[in-house]
C-alpha cells in the first residue's frame, strides 16, 4: 500500500541541523584531508626521488644535484602517480563529495614533492 506522507521522527532521533555549505564555488580541504593525502604525496616523492637517485648514481652522476627542470619533472611525476593512486583506490566519489576539486587534489600531491625538492636542493648547496 502506498503510504501517505510521513513526517514523524522514527526511533532514530536525528539532529536536523543543516550542515555547513560553502557559499562560494570552491572549498579548501580541511587539515584531516590535507594530512592524509599529503602524507601519501610525501611517500610517493620519497619513492620517486630514491629511484631517480639510484639511476643517477648508477649512471655516475650526482644524485643530489638536479637542475630545476628535472626537479619539476619529478614533481609532475609525483602528481601523476598520486592521481593514478586516487583512481586505483576509487577515491573520486569521496573527494568530489568532500568538495576537493581535481586542482586541489593535484596540489595535495605537488606540495610535498616541491618541499622535498627544495630541501634536497638546500642540502646539496650546503654540501657543495
Amino acid at each position: 500500500m502506498v503510504a501517505t506522507r510521513r513526517c514523524e521522527l522514527t526511533a532514530h532521533t536525528v539532529d536536523l541541523r543543516v550542515a555547513r555549505a560553502s557559499t562560494s564555488h570552491l572549498m579548501l580541504p580541511n587539515t584531516l584531508i590535507t594530512t592524509r593525502f599529503a602524507a601519501r604525496g610525501a611517500q610517493l616523492w620519497i619513492g620517486a626521488r630514491l629511484l631517480t637517485g639510484a639511476v643517477l648514481k648508477l649512471a655516475g652522476g650526482d644524485p643530489l644535484h638536479l637542475d630545476v627542470s628535472s626537479a619539476l619533472l619529478i614533481v609532475a611525476v609525483c602528481i601523476a602517480l598520486g592521481l593514478a593512486d586516487v583512481h586505483r583506490r576509487h577515491e573520486r566519489a569521496l573527494l568530489d563529495n568532500l568538495g576537493v576539486s581535481p586542482l586541489a587534489r593535484s596540489a595535495l600531491f605537488a606540495v610535498p614533492a616541491l618541499i622535498g625538492e627544495s630541501a634536497v636542493a638546500c642540502v646539496a648547496s650546503i654540501i657543495g
Binding site: 502506498v2 536525528v14 569521496l94
Partner: protein, 237 residues
Amino acid sequence: MPLLVADCVSKSFRGRRVLTSSSLRAVEGELRVVLGRNGSGKSTLLKIAAGWIQPDAGIVHYDGQALLEARLPQLAARGLFYLPDHDLFSTAYPVRVQLELFERQFGGTSVDDALECVGVSALGQKMPSALSGGELRRAEIAAIMVRRPRCLLADEPFRGIAPKDAEEIGQLLRTLSCSGMAIVLTGHEVPTLAGVADHITWCTAGTTYELGPPSAAMQHEGLRRDYLGQAPYLRAL
C-alpha cells in the same frame, strides 16, 4: 522552486543514445524517486545532475543558478551529495576515518550517532573491503547522515540491503526530506520506494515522465505495462 534541475539533457555513449531529452528535479522537502528499467538512463541522468559526467546537451541549474558545466566538487561545496551505485568510500582508510573527513569538512551529525542510526556502530574501524555489500551500503548511508546535505542524489541506495533494513533506511531518508533536504533516489525496490516517495519520475526510452505522487503513478498504464509488470506483490500498489 526546485533546488536542482537537470533540464532537457541528452547523452550518448559511443554512438548509443542513452538520454534524448530528460529532466530531473530535486525539490527541498521532497523525496523523489526515478523508476525505470535497467539501461533506461536513470543512473546517467543522476550522474549528469550531480556533475559527475557532462551532458551532450542540456543544462543543470542549482540553487537558482544555471551551470553550463556543473562539476561535483563545486556542487558538493554548495550542499549537494551524490551517492553513486558503488564505490563511495576509498579502499585506503577505515570507514570511521572517512566519515570523520565529512564531519570535519561539513559538520553535520556526529560519526558515532550516524553509525548507530544505521546499525553499523561495530563496523566503523573496518576497511570498506571487509564489509559485506549490505553493510557497506549502510555505512554509505551513514555518510549521508554525517554530511547532512541540502540535496541528495542517491543511485540505488537500497541495493543489497534486506527488505526490513531498507524500510528503516527509507524512513530515515523520509525524515531527512521532512527536515528540508531535497532527495532523489533511484532503484527497483518499488514497494519500499513508493512507500517513502512524494513524487515518481519514470525514465524510459531516453526521456522522463513526471507521474506525480506514488498513488497516481502506480495507476499509470505505461508504467504498469513496461516496468511494474504483473508481479502479485505489486498489484496492491
